[in-house]
Structure formats: structure tokens, C-alpha cells
């Protein structure tokens, strides 16, 4: 098969692929911590997965297969852009790739994150929205909220750490609700 197939991918495959997007992006971002690059690699990975849909064994482990292809794509991306970007070495990427990414836990973390996000003060929510939803650069955020860059950077740091701590606290609750 050359290029992108004109055939629609099977429904079950499409369902699995769409359901995996969140984890797949998280996995790629872990190996390649730059959003733009990670999104490019995610797209390339999705295209390859769609092209290879016919090769996928429905009895196989879809996530493992998809992650493996994503890792190859990360490596290929780094090889292509090695000279111009600040990236991890191959050894570090291999070590990070070996870290277990529990998709079920990611889904629960997402629920906990929602609860925690709601608890953020309004000024933090505004900065979080600009950074995470609108993808604004820090200097643009600083301009919009009328604060120095260092202050915005520090606030974003606090937002992340506060959320991580909060998510840890909320996880038992979310897990319990999930089991009901």
C-alpha cells in the first residue's frame, strides 16, 4: 500500500485508535517534551497506524503496538531535527519509553484533574487557560495578564505542583467512585 489508503479504516480499529489518543499523546510528549513536535509525531503516528490497520491482529495488544510505532516515530523525528532542537538522547528516550503508562490510570487522573482544576483560584485558572487551552507563550501571557514573565512562570509552576498534589489526594476518591 503506498501513501495513505483511500479505504476507510475498520470501525473497531478507528474506535480503538480514537480511544487511545489521550494516552498516545501523553506517551509521545514524555519522550519528546515539546507540544508542537509531539503533535506532529502524533499525527504521523496516526497516519502510519491507519496505513497499517490491515496488519493489526485484533487479538493483539493494541496499545503496545501503537506505542511501539509512536516510539519509532519519535526516534525518526529526532534524527530528522537533531541539529536544531533541544532533545533527549536516544538512551534517555529508551529509558523513558520503558516507564509504564497506565491508560486506565490516565483516565482516572483526568477525572481527578477536573475536580482539582475547579479548585484553582480564578487568577490561576486564567493563566492555565491561556497556557494550556490557548497554547499561548509565556511572554504573551505575561503581556495579557500584565505581570512579569518570571511571575507567570512561577505561577504556572505552582499550578502544576498544586494540581499534582491535589490529584494524588483525589485519586482514592475517584478510584472508589469508579469501582461503584
Amino acid at each position: 500500500m503506498s501513501g495513505v489508503s483511500d479505504d476507510l479504516v475498520p470501525f473497531d480499529f478507528s474506535r480503538k485508535l480514537t480511544a487511545l489518543q489521550r494516552s498516545l499523546y501523553a506517551y509521545i510528549l514524555t519522550l519528546l517534551p515539546n507540544r508542537t513536535d509531539a503533535e506532529d509525531v502524533l499525527q504521523e503516528t496516526n497516519l502510519i497506524l491507519c496505513r497499517k490497520a490491515g496488519e493489526y491482529d485484533p487479538k493483539g495488544h493494541f496499545q503496545g503496538w501503537a506505542f511501539q510505532i509512536a516510539r519509532y516515530q519519535v526516534m525518526a523525528h529526532i534524527t530528522k531535527s537533531k541539529r536544531s532542537r533541544l532533545q533527549f538522547s536516544t538512551e534517555i528516550i529508551e529509558a523513558l519509553a520503558a516507564e509504564e503508562l497506565d491508560t486506565k490510570r490516565i483516565v482516572l487522573s483526568q477525572k481527578a484533574l477536573q475536580l482539582c482544576y475547579d479548585l484553582l483560584p480564578d487568577h490561576m485558572k486564567r493563566i492555565a487557560r491561556l497556557r494550556f487551552r490557548e497554547d499561548s507563550q509565556l511572554k504573551d501571557i505575561a503581556k495579557k495578564v500584565g505581570r512579569p514573565l518570571g511571575s507567570v512562570s512561577a505561577t504556572l509552576h505552582r499550578i502544576r505542583i498544586n494540581l499534582i498534589d491535589c490529584v494524588r489526594r483525589k485519586m482514592p476518591l475517584v478510584e472508589a467512585e469508579n469501582e461503584l
Binding site: 470501525f11 489518543q21 489521550r22 534517555i92 529509558a95 487522573s109 482544576y117 494550556f132 509552576h157
Partner: protein, 366 residues
């Protein structure tokens, strides 16, 4: 605080620097040393990065702040609605395109991929010189401008696009040109003042799409999906033109807007044509009254699936008497069950040219 705590704090600091793009080579080197030194550091790093990816995701979908005026939800940059869309698909058991009950415009939207020879496929112009019959009123608490617009297109359904239009009208109306244009640039071309958002929306080459000319092109915002109607669409206001000087003060008898723009889309999971359109709304303003649309035009085409080629869309709009402002928006729309499937593809426009022809004289290039 022990040595382990210190190094984990350092991992946090460095990871956040990397995620915010504030890092240098020495930061990467140091982070690499820490990550290779212990599993706890890798775990902490992964925890932060995964959270960032979820935040990026969640704030696009669930943690939406704007009041919703319709059933439309923001289509995320990444496919956050994956499980939702899949569930919808499973429930309906649909595996083919939804081609039911097309209206004249829907029929065009649902048509198959076009060849260059059959585009533009539609010129669904609905222009009237009288106030439009069905107008919806929109305003925001932060804006003094109330905008009533008619019709039934992506621009009408887009809170963001209408919000930008309102903002542009307010900037031009109040002559608030001293700032940075608030997401746009104020330009003066002969007797026309324009609020131009093109630069604000422009991006360099990406996702395999090269600008048609130059090194920048317009990237439309993320698609919003409407589960109820099985559609996904977006609208971006690109220009607001102040015609008061020409029409009201100089008494121009005939004014026409000629438009030309090219569209393209990148390859996504769903290999499907997209209906691109350009809309123009003629807005009349009266002291103390809402700004009201007194005529509009929507022209559209269906894109091909080739990211190398750009499709051209041209239109002409006879501007109704009494028009004070023109709002020009670019839109993209998909229909059918596949519109619910998250797609990473981008939607682009380039070489948007507007020409204002006054009294059949030479056009003012805007």
C-alpha cells in the same frame, strides 16, 4: 529535606522549564543526568508531562469557561472527545456517511470530493437591502456592542467569531486604535479603516501544507462538533471594515466587495472533503441601537484531499445601502458521522484579497 527531595525538586523545575519552552541545552543535559540516575526522577518527570498533556486536553473540552449558546462544544486540538465520539458511533452503529435530508446547502456540503473544474460549487448568496427577517442578538458583558446577525451559517453559530466581530466593530466604532488592535491590526486604506486579524491567525508551513505564497498562511481555529447534527465546523472573523466614511459621508451610490481566497486542508485520520466558505455580513449601526445585519453572503466550495493543491473561492457582494461595517469570516465545515471522529488535520486559507469597488471605479485593495 534530603538529597532525594532536592533532586526531585530539581527534576520538577527543569521539567517545567522544558514544558514551557524556557530551557537551554544545559537544562536538558542536567535533566538527562537526573532522569538516568533514578527511577523516582523518571516517574516524577512522567507524572508532570502526563498531567500537562491532560491539562492541554482538558482545558480544551471539559473546563470550558465560555457560556454556551448552542449545543456546540469546542473541538479540541487533540482528540479529547475520542471515547465520546466512539461511543456515539457505537450507539448508532453507523458505518456509512450520513446523507439524509439535504437542504440545498447541505447537499453541497455532502457532495463527494470535487475536481478543480467544478469549484467553486456554490454561491449561496442571500443578500438583501432590508433588515433580515430572523436575527439573533449577541453581546458580551465586556462589550458595549450588541450585534444582531441573520442567516444560518458557521459564523452565526460561532460564539468566538461573533465575539471577534463585535470586538472589531467596537475598536473601529470607538476609534480605539491606540492599543495593539486587541488581536488584530488596524489598517487604513484610502477611506476605509479595517481591523485585520490575518496576521494573528497566521502560521508558517505545517502539517505538510506550504503557504500558497510567502511564508505564512491563515490557520482556522479548531473545529467545534455538534453531536446533535453530526457536524463539525469553525468560523474565524478575519476582517471588519468600516465603510461609514465612504457610504455615509461621501454618499457612494454603489459599493461592491470582491473577494478571493484559497483554501487547503492537511491529511487527517478522516480522509474527507471539507466545505470551506467565506461569509460577509453587512452591518448597520445606529446610535443606541444594536448593530444589525442588513444583508449577508456566503459562498462555499468543497476541498479536494490533496494537500499540495489550493482551491480558490471568489465572490461578489453588492453592499446594501445603509451599511456601516462589513464583517468577513472564513469557515470550515464537515458533516456526517465522520465529523464526530477527532481529526488532527488543520484547515488553512491563504491569499485572502478583498477589493472594494465604489461607484464602479477602481477597486480599493483591502
Amino acid at each position: 529535606m534530603n538529597a532525594s527531595d532536592v533532586s526531585l525538586k530539581e527534576v520538577e523545575l527543569l521539567t517545567v522549564r522544558v514544558l514551557d519552552g524556557l530551557h537551554e541545552q544545559k537544562d536538558m543535559d542536567r535533566l538527562s543526568v537526573l532522569l538516568s540516575s533514578c527511577a523516582a526522577a523518571r516517574s516524577r518527570y512522567a507524572e508532570l508531562v502526563v498531567q500537562d498533556s491532560l491539562l492541554h486536553w482538558e482545558t480544551s473540552e471539559v473546563l470550558e469557561f465560555e457560556p454556551s449558546e448552542s449545543k456546540t462544544v469546542l473541538f479540541p486540538k487533540l482528540p479529547l472527545v475520542a471515547s465520546f465520539a466512539a461511543a456515539i458511533l457505537a450507539v448508532f452503529g453507523v458505518w456509512h456517511w450520513n446523507r439524509s435530508a439535504p437542504s440545498s446547502v447541505e447537499g453541497l456540503a455532502l457532495g463527494g470530493p470535487t475536481t478543480p473544474s467544478d469549484k467553486p460549487i456554490a454561491s449561496a448568496a442571500v443578500a438583501s437591502a432590508t433588515p433580515e427577517s430572523q436575527l439573533a442578538s449577541y453581546s458580551s458583558p465586556s462589550s458595549e456592542v450588541v450585534l444582531e446577525v441573520g442567516g444560518d451559517g458557521p459564523f452565526i453559530r460561532s460564539i468566538d467569531a461573533r465575539g471577534e466581530a463585535r470586538k472589531g466593530i467596537m475598536i473601529l466604532d470607538k476609534k480605539k486604535w491606540d492599543g495593539d488592535g486587541e488581536g488584530g491590526i488596524v489598517e487604513i486604506r484610502e477611506d476605509v479603516v479595517a481591523w485585520n486579524r490575518e496576521e494573528h491567525l497566521s502560521v508558517p508551513a505545517e502539517q505538510g501544507i506550504l503557504p500558497l505564497e510567502g511564508d505564512r498562511m491563515i490557520k482556522l481555529s479548531k473545529l467545534g462538533i455538534d453531536v446533535r447534527t453530526h457536524s463539525a465546523e469553525v468560523s474565524d472573523t478575519v476582517r471588519v471594515l468600516d465603510l461609514r466614511e465612504i457610504i455615509r459621508n461621501q454618499g457612494a451610490s454603489t459599493v461592491r466587495l470582491n473577494t478571493s481566497v484559497f483554501f487547503n486542508q492537511s491529511i487527517g485520520i478522516v480522509r474527507e472533503s471539507t466545505q470551506f466558505s467565506l461569509t460577509v455580513h453587512a452591518i448597520k449601526s445606529e446610535n443606541g441601537e444594536p448593530h444589525r445585519s442588513i444583508g449577508h453572503l456566503e459562498t462555499s466550495l468543497n476541498s479536494d484531499l490533496n494537500p499540495i493543491t489550493w482551491e480558490e473561492l471568489n465572490s461578489e457582494f453588492e453592499i446594501p445601502e445603509g451599511t456601516d461595517f462589513l464583517v468577513v469570516a472564513l469557515n470550515a465545515r464537515r458533516e456526517g458521522t465522520n465529523a464526530l471522529i477527532p481529526d488532527l488535520g488543520g484547515f488553512y486559507a491563504d491569499q485572502l484579497h478583498l477589493g472594494l469597488v465604489v461607484n464602479e471605479q477602481e477597486a480599493i485593495r483591502l
